[in-house]
Symmetry: C2
Subunit: 289 residues, 2 copies
Amino acid sequence: MFFVKLREAVQRNHSFLCVGLDPDPSLLPEKDVLAFNRAIIEATADLACAYKPNLAFYEALGPAGLEVLQRTVEAVPEGVPTIADAKRGDIGNTAAAYARALFDVYGFDAATVNPYLGGDALGPFLERADKGVFVLCRTSNPGGADLQDRLVVADGGSRPLYEVVAELAQEKWNARGNVGLVVGATYPQELGRVRQLCPRLTFLLPGVGAQGADVAAAVGNALDEQGGGFIISSSRQILYASSGRDYAQAARRAAQALRDEINRQREAILAARSGRGYQPEADPPLAEA
Amino acid sequence: MFFVKLREAVQRNHSFLCVGLDPDPSLLPEKDVLAFNRAIIEATADLACAYKPNLAFYEALGPAGLEVLQRTVEAVPEGVPTIADAKRGDIGNTAAAYARALFDVYGFDAATVNPYLGGDALGPFLERADKGVFVLCRTSNPGGADLQDRLVVADGGSRPLYEVVAELAQEKWNARGNVGLVVGATYPQELGRVRQLCPRLTFLLPGVGAQGADVAAAVGNALDEQGGGFIISSSRQILYASSGRDYAQAARRAAQALRDEINRQREAILAARSGRGYQPEADPPLAEA
């Protein structure tokens, strides 16, 4: 089960950091994309709680890029889960083909999906109880407001569309306990609101690093009552920490720095809560650290 | 420019039929997917105004499936445009990678995109003035209602989200005249409403065939004042018209029957309009037929 595997990786590596594997040819310090990915994975495997390749970068390399994707997933150590950042959404037998591709052909443990086509379109993903399904909720880009911030008529009042998606995810789509949400760390207020609505869902938070989100605000708004419930994704900040031959060592240093900063922020918040009489319901992932 | 190429193909083949190339291994009458696609294309190339491979079915075949996709696009005759049914939506440099993949690596003339991430996410597609961009509006599945039919607060009242998308597409995203909409033929009333809002956008209509939409209602609601403005997509009804060795001939017969039915419905509506004093603004595509 994906969320069990994720929690174990969080605990083993004392890490809430998900490393995005997004090889952009214009930034790569190494021509061989697979060798680059393998070097990044090797340099960060004890620092990451998950790896998240975005399929766009592999598709842009042509059919050979999908070979690279397959070998990249294989290169991730057994205990660290993989998330296909695919943002797929399609209907019926087509959605089933996407789920088959991501989960069975490429062997991902989880995938990101787009909710615009509704619950029946997500069905072939949701029914895979062993896999994780991260539904886009409030994305990290300003244009996300075009639809996601629209006020929807609800309960005699109105609320933004992303809140509707959060509630659908929690109340309708999570029947198998395998659903999480993608919420941009660039919108900490909205993130806090989604946490209020969905106290127990796990959030995948993009936006830290190149997009400029604040780690403290992200952790502060995403942390659940059990002291977890989120992972922070970073790609460019780690992958391209150096454009030289030392890129893997530089990636390791960048990953370690970000992992440690997330942990520091988290511990500060837990300490403050504990000062207010907070007792975590379960062992927090870093209790033994 | 995609919409010029599409109009020329409509006129040349007297056809508003877009053939979906969605090879489902459980239904294929032929083991070699590329040979199957080539046979279907050869059998229907004078009957189709476009071909639309859905990427899910190629991704489900692994990296080799993307080779098949590339060869399939190459197999489409020069004058018939290709639409990547990809429903992509992602942000910034990732959206750029998807646009590069679909338009430059695989050479598609157009693509379908998902609007949930907003206008900036669509940017890398929209800025390609030579390419067509079909934005999902009201999709053909019942679950589309989960988000798309939600009433959004607007102009002192409220309106469904799909109408908001239709207006964004027409008024903001179509600055280069390369935007169309995907509207399910399964929802003729919503289709008619979108036509009212967007009198000049071209609609891609899925839902006829296996999904059971009525051709007359689809054409009646989608037809624009110039006597065109839509294409009807069909996949399974054509591809799997026979499970035997005669599948290509059967596909040709099915494509011809559907093309002719669409044309009959269209001509009946134009005749009725003309009885009411209707004069098309431009030569309707079938004027010379």
